[in-house]
């Protein structure tokens, strides 16, 4: 577990250094993810330790958003003053993005026969 955590941090660190050195607009951890992905392609897959540790970390990914979400307490006044545009934009635009992405992707992959014969679900 410690070895896997160290590996994840090393890739994050490499990502942060690259993002800053090349002044990229993309955050370090996203570059770290890309680097680790490339390493896995070259190596042929993660070891058992890395697979388990990442699995545990991703299982509770929701937890990691809680501290930032609690920041809502700072914006009580602005939200009270602009609740209508904020709430409508948040809900409708999220629904639209979900629907447009799913429908476009479904339409594009639906053109190819990909169900095995007999499966007409």
């Amino acid at each position: 577990m410690i070895a896997a955590l160290t590996l994840l941090l090393v890739f994050q660190l490499a990502g942060e250094v690259i993002a800053r050195a090349l002044a990229l607009p993309v955050p370090g951890p996203v570059i770290g993810m890309a680097l680790l992905f490339l390493a896995l392609l070259l190596r042929g897959g993660p070891g058992e330790d890395l697979r388990q540790t990442s699995g545990q970390l991703l299982q509770h990914l929701s937890l990691l958003f809680v501290p930032a979400g609690t920041g809502i307490v700072i914006y009580g006044d602005r939200i009270a003053a602009e609740w209508l545009p904020l709430v409508v934009a948040l809900f409708l635009s999220t629904f639209l993005a979900l629907a447009v992405t799913a429908l476009v992707l479904k339409a594009l992959i639906g053109k190819r026969p990909r169900m095995p014969a007999g499966d007409d679900r």
């Binding site: 392609l41 930032a68 635009s93």
Partner: protein, 244 residues
Amino acid sequence: MNPNLEEIWVYLSTSPLLGLTLTLLAYQAAFWVYKRCGFHPLANPVLISVAILASLLLATDTPYQTYFDGAQFVHFLLGPATVALAIPLHAQWPRLKAMAGPLTIALVAGSLTAALSAWGLGALLGGSRESLMSLAPKSVTTPIAMGVAERIGGLPSLTAVLVISTGIIGAVFARSIYRWLRIDDHAVRGFAIGIASHGIGTARAFQVSEQAGAFAALAMGLNGLLTALSLPWIMPWVERLFAR
């Protein structure tokens, strides 16, 4: 409060221990509720945890910064967790590669819809410029969204709150929308929730299936990349076009 209790409170309110412990306790409680509700999307664990913690902070008049001094240790793990997304991505790589063309088109369509509809709806309803620019990058992962908001004239910390809200809304309502639109392929479901609702949508997708999770992780990463590169030049252009 007797002097002894007050001493204890002074210690607790200045040490990071309380904020960290409360974050984990709130999440344990929220996850217990989520489980008891059969993982129903309405019982979203982020939503319940934030509701518990925000109520506590408001009730005890504790500044957010004091809380965050402890909670930052949890927040920090977002970095390594983002890197760890490479593992499910690698596991699903053959299927992802086979769908590269459709995924790219869906990515561009979904990414533009998310940013422009948020800006447009907010503008129609009279949102302030700062709020509109904080709304535009709301569908991408927190660190990218905050950076983009800063570049286009939004408020990064407000953006963080809007990003989390977007994630929760997507995680809560995606299943109903998919049922209504008759979308049942887990690859499509995962990809769409990753575009619209970044990491929180991805977290929800992983709770549904590993395939949905991997497609969500890919969508989140790609949308982050595309938004970071495109919004800083699209938004000034959109503003000029619709100058009020």
